[in-house]
Amino acid sequence: MPEQLVFAMEVFLNGLMAGVLYALVALGFVLIYKASGIFNFAQGVMALFAAMTLVGIQNGQIPFAPLINATLGTNAHFFGWNLPSAISLPLTVGVMILLAWAVQRFVFRHLVGQEPIILFMATIGLAYFLEGVADLMWGSEIKKLDFCLTAETCLPQGINLAIDEATYNWFGYGFFIDNLDITAAIVAVLLVGALVAFSQYTKHGRAMRAVADDHQAALSVGISLDFIWVLVWSVAGFVALVAGIMWGAKSGVQFSLSLIALKALPVLMLGGFTSIPGAIVGGLIIGVGEKLFEFAIGPMVGGATENWFAYVLALLFLVFRPQGLFGEKIIERV
C-alpha cells in the first residue's frame, strides 16, 4: 500500500476521534435548542465550569478561597483531601443540576415567550457570568485533570499499543491513536444511545419531546414546563460535564476550554440545530475534514488550516443547505 494512503488512514482515524469530542459539545447545544428554542451560547462555559468543579472537588480546593481570604483575612486554600472521581463525579453532577435549576429559576423563567434573540443574548450574559464565577470559585490557573474512579482505574492516556502493533504488522507503519480518544468515542456512543432511549421510552423523555414540540399541548396533558426545562438544562449540564472531562483530560482544564463551543458552531451548521444524529455526524465530518484537509492541502498553503477549515465548511452549508444535513426543513404553509 502506498505510504501516503497509510498516513491518510491514520489521519482519518484521528479525525474521527477529534470529531467525537466536537460532537459531544454540539450535543449539549442540540438538547437545549430542541426543548426550549434557546441557542445556549454558554454550553462551552458550562463544560469549563463542570470540569473545573470536578477538579476543584477532587483536589479539595475551597471554593471562593481568594474571596473568603480577602474578606476574613485568613489564608486557607485547601481542605486537605484528595477525592477519587467516584465521589467527585456525583457531586459535580449535583452542582450542574443546581446550576440548571438556578438558570431556569432566575433567568429563563422571567423570559418565557420572549423573542429568540433575547433568549440568545441572555445566554451570552450567562456565559460571561459563569466564566466569572468559575474563576472566582476555583481560580484561573491551568489544572491537570486525572479522572480516576478509584486509585487504579483511571481514564487511559497515551498511545494504544494494540492498534500500533496491529497496524505495524499490516502496513509496516504503526498508527498513533490515543487511548483517551478511543474512550471518549465509546463514552459518546453510550451517552447518545442512553439519551435516545430515554427520550423514546420514558415518561419524562416523551415529555421533553412534547415540550419541544408544542407548549400549549404539553400543558394540556399535565406537563410542567418549568420542570422539563430544569431537566433539559440538567441533562445538558451532564453532557457538558462529560465533554469537559474528555477535553480537560486531553489538554488540561483551562479557560480556553470554553472556546470549544465555537468549534461546535460549524458542527451544528452541518448537522442541523435540531438533530441529535446530526450533531454526531456533523462532529465526525468536521473532525475528519479538518484533519484530512490539513494533511492534504495544508503543506501547500503553509499549514494552520485547522483553524479555519470548519468555519469555511459551515459557510458553504449556510449558503447551499441552511437547514443542515439532518435539520428539519422549514416549510411555511400559506
Partner: protein
Amino acid sequence: MNDMSNDSYVTEDGRTIGGVVMEMKNITLRFGGVKAITDISFDIREGEIRAIIGPNGAGKSSMLNVISGFYVPQEGEVWYKGRKRPPMKPYEVAQQGIARTFQNIALFEGMTVLDNVMTGRIRQMQAGLLSQALWRGKAEREEIENRAQVEKIIDFLEIQHIRKTPVGRLPYGLKKRVELARALAAEPSILLLDEPMAGMNVEEKEDMSRFILDVNDEFGTTIALIEHDMGVVMDLSDRVVVMDYGKKIGDGTPSEVRSNQAVIDAYLGVAHD
C-alpha cells in the same frame, strides 16, 4: 332541571346522570376593560354530555379556558369534586383529571400518533427520574402497562392504521381524532372538547359524533363541549348552556333550550322553519 341540587336525573334517552362534578359559580373574566364572561354559573354532572353554545364571540372558548386553567377569572369560584379550586396552572388542572382538546388542534406534530397518545398517560405514570434513567423496576412496568391501555384507546377510536405515522402528516379530520385519543388516554374525570367538529365535512362530523357518544357510553366519561353546529349539539348533548355576549341566556335540555325565547332571539332567530 336548572336547580343546583345534587340529585341525579334521567336524560331524554333514558340514561341516568349522576351528581355534580364541576360547578362554576358567578364567573367573570375580563381582558383589560373587555368583559369576556359576565357572572356565569352552571354545573357539569357525572356522566353527562354538556354543551356550551352561542354565536361567535359569545365567550364559549373563554369559558372552556377557565375550566382548564388557561385563564384565571377575576371573579367567581370553580368547584371541582365538591371542593373549591384555588387558582391553578393549566398543567396542574390537567393532573387533576381535566383533559381537553383545542379548536385549532394542539398536537405534537413531530411525534408519532402512538407517542402523542402516550403523553396523555403522563398523569398515570409515577416512576421517579432515576428509575426512568435506568429503565428498571417501576418505570419499565409502567411503560408496558400504559402502552397496553393506549393501544386499547387507539383501537377504540379506529386509528390503528396510523399508529406509527408522525402526526404532522395526517389530514385534519384524523388529527382531531388523535387529539381526542390523547385526551381520552388520561382517563379524565371531565373531557373538554373545544369545537370538536369545526372545519370537518359531513362524513367526518358524523364519525366524530359517533365517537363522542361511544366514549360517553363505553367509559362513562363526562364530556363538556363547545360547538357551533346546532344540529350536532342538539343530537349529542344532555344539557346545554347558551351564551351570548359573555352572558348566560339559557340552560337546560336541548328541547327546553330550543323553546327558550331569549335563545331563539339571540341565536336561533335566523332559522326559517
